[in-house]
Symmetry: C2
Subunit: 110 residues, 2 copies
DNA sequence: CAGGATCCCTTCCGATACTG
DNA sequence: CAGTATCGGAAGGGATCCTG
């Protein structure tokens, strides 16, 4: 189950849907670099697990809207906490990587 | 960066290290089904990103201890919140999957 | 004990083409 | 518009063997 939260796209899609219902193509535009294939797959999994509901409007051409339901909203808070942490600390991580790269070069070099 | 938290093993290793410093083999035993290969790789990434520090004791045979440093500890709280959420809601997810499987069978069947 | 190197099979995923 | 189907390359990761 933690695997799904760990999925690269799942989190991004959820964060977009946190801003309100979105249509398939709107999600595609809001989540950069996601392919139709992965967007479909991600949405199917989220629907399957009860995080989002899918509404089909039988217009022509058809449009489909996805929205978070109660379960999806409930996990938004802990998720947002983690995202907030990541934003606060990404600089520290970047610094750590620089230090690590430097010690790597020093330790294994000629 | 969120990718790394999304990694299957990273979270599990971090949660074990939350209980205190551990040696390499102890981690291997504490995280079921992780291979030496993946444990090494996961620890390298965590070290690289400044979440854990690595202490080598020049005994014979050598032993290596990993422990969370400040950055690692700081992310434990949001992570724990997410894990707590998962534990509270895994039943709801399981129920959603059952419903989904049922509607799948009904919708696409003969 | 801790971990690097290699092999090799599996899964993931993007590109492309087609449909209701 | 919102998908589905198929293919092929790229990446993930286990098994095994080797070293300090």
């Amino acid at each position: 189950m933690l695997d799904r939260l760990g999925d690269k796209w799942t989190t991004l899609v959820l964060l977009v849907l946190a801003g309100g219902p979105r249509r398939f193509s709107a999600l595609g535009r809001a989540v950069p670099d996601i392919s139709k294939r992965m967007l479909t797959q991600t949405l199917r999994e989220l629907e399957r697990d009860g995080f989002v509901t899918r509404h089909v409007f039988p217009t022509k051409p058809p449009s489909v809207e996805y929205r978070l339901d109660a379960l999806g909203h409930s996990m938004l808070e802990p998720l947002a906490a983690l995202v907030a942490w990541a934003e606060r600390n990404h600089a520290a991580v970047a610094a750590a990587r620089t230090r690590y790269a430097a010690s790597e070069a020093a330790g294994h070099g000629p």
